[in-house]
């Protein structure tokens, strides 16, 4: 009986949506759209100095993102010396590996990168639920069938939270925003020890 109670409690807690747990209140989703402007200018070559901490190792290089056409982006990674590590294409919901080093050619890794970069390059999303407190709007949407929450402050996208079972799985922070360019981006995973730090050197 006690077990049942505990598991009931647990069920109730885990059923609460992520924003509600963060003390946001539901409001009307119909009026809102999600727009991510940070990789939306086709005339720009977006270049970021990247520092990746995975478990106890650190890697660095350049993350290069280019909008090729409407709903099409290239995402490539090179070392500082120019050696290409990988090169991906995102078209609508399709994903293609143009190149990847044999050493990195692992399904798990490619999947993580694919999900993370998909969030960066997706520009327009349909809102399924909407929450807010006084200052922040939290818009719920789904990417690859996973719930994502977009945080809008002063009509600026400041963070995205990818959740699993109502718990934060990946956090995307857009910092030092200037004219639709996020000078700094942090991607933090909470279920694996992986953090990606990006600093814009867009020329």
């Amino acid at each position: 009986m006690r077990f049942l109670l505990i598991s009931l409690c647990f069920l109730v807690v885990s059923c609460g949506s992520y924003p509600k747990k963060q003390n946001f209140k539901a409001d009307n989703p119909a009026t809102k759209n999600i727009e991510n402007p940070y990789f939306s200018d086709g005339s720009l070559d977006y270049v970021y100095k990247a520092s990746i901490d995975v478990y106890d190792r650190n890697f660095s290089g350049l993350l290069i993102i280019k909008k090729i056409a409407e709903k099409e982006h290239r995402v490539a990674f090179t070392t500082e010396m120019g050696n290409k590590m990988f090169d991906f294409t995102f078209i609508e919901d399709d994903f293609k590996v143009n190149f990847i080093l044999d050493e990195l050619n692992k399904k798990i890794l490619i999947n993580i990168l694919k999900k993370d970069f998909k969030v960066l390059v997706t520009e327009n999303l349909i809102v399924s639920n909407s929450y807010s407190n006084n200052e922040i709007d939290v818009l719920e949407t789904s990417i690859f069938n996973k719930k994502h929450y977009y945080f809008i402050e002063d009509s600026q996208l400041t963070q995205v939270v990818n959740t699993k079972n109502g718990k934060e799985k990946v956090l995307f922070l857009f910092l030092k925003i200037n004219n639709h360019l996020a000078s700094q981006i942090e991607i933090k995973h909470s279920n694996i020890k992986l953090t990606i730090n990006l600093k814009s050197i867009t020329q």
């Binding site: 005339s43 720009l44 070559d45 270049v47 100095k49 520092s51 650190n58 660095s60 350049l62 290069i64 280019k66 090729i68 290239r74 490539a76 090179t78 500082e80 010396m81 120019g82 050696n83 290409k84 090169d87 143009n98 190149f99 044999d102 600093k199 050197i201 020329q203």
Partner: protein
């Protein structure tokens, strides 16, 4: 018809800008570069790196300084648009990424060793290894350009061709590394000084 003559004229100009060397010319360039490589104990140079990716509007440009000391100490110091130092020393790679220091032992990594060897040889220009490369020689105005195509399938997966441009003295002006996809990295050296004394301390992280 006049257009056709014009086009022909321009084509012949373009061909003239880069012509194949005769066997004797190629031999004398080889001797010159090898001689130069033998007498080069240190190299200090500024460099500009152009990373060309076909899908970008512009090449990604970075700048810095190169230091080389025989037999195998190499330091690439990027200063613009970021600070990044990579030192090749013995079998270890020392990295300083804006203060974050890291080192990688290359002892177990055959590929890295090969890459390091290639880097040193291409800085000196001495890559004339017919066993490892298919080599073709070109004249380009006063300069020479040599194309090295790796015979080994494994290394050609990364770099399908090296193109090194030499001046009349047999000094390396430019190294271009072309990937299978056609994307490339081009490094242009300037203010190059040979045999300026370099302390070993320069090559510590």
């Amino acid at each position: 018809m006049r257009n056709f003559v014009f086009i022909l004229f321009f084509i012949s100009l373009a061909v003239q800008a880069q012509t194949k060397m005769s066997v004797t010319e190629a031999e004398s360039l080889k001797t010159l570069v090898k001689q130069q490589a033998l007498t080069t104990k240190t190299i200090s140079s500024n460099f500009t790196q152009y990373k060309h990716l076909d899908f970008l509007s512009n090449d990604i440009v970075s700048k810095g300084k190169l230091a080389f000391k025989t037999p195998d100490l190499v330091k690439w110091e990027y200063t613009d648009p970021y600070n990044y130092v990579i030192i090749f020393k013995n079998e270890t790679l020392f990295i300083n990424d804006e203060g974050k220091k890291n080192q990688v032992n290359m002892g177990s990594n055959k590929l890295f060793k090969e890459l390091n060897g290639l880097i040193i040889n291409s800085i000196k220009g001495d890559m004339f290894d017919d066993e490892a490369f298919d080599i073709t020689y070109f004249k380009k105005d006063k300069n020479s350009q040599v194309h090295f195509i790796p015979k080994d399938k494994k290394s050609s997966k990364f770099i399908s061709e090296f193109q090194i441009t030499f001046n009349e003295k047999g000094d390396v002006l430019e190294v271009k590394m072309i990937e299978l996809s056609g994307d490339f990295t081009k490094i242009v050296f300037n203010n190059k000084e040979l045999n300026k004394p370099l302390a070993d301390a320069i090559f510590t992280n």
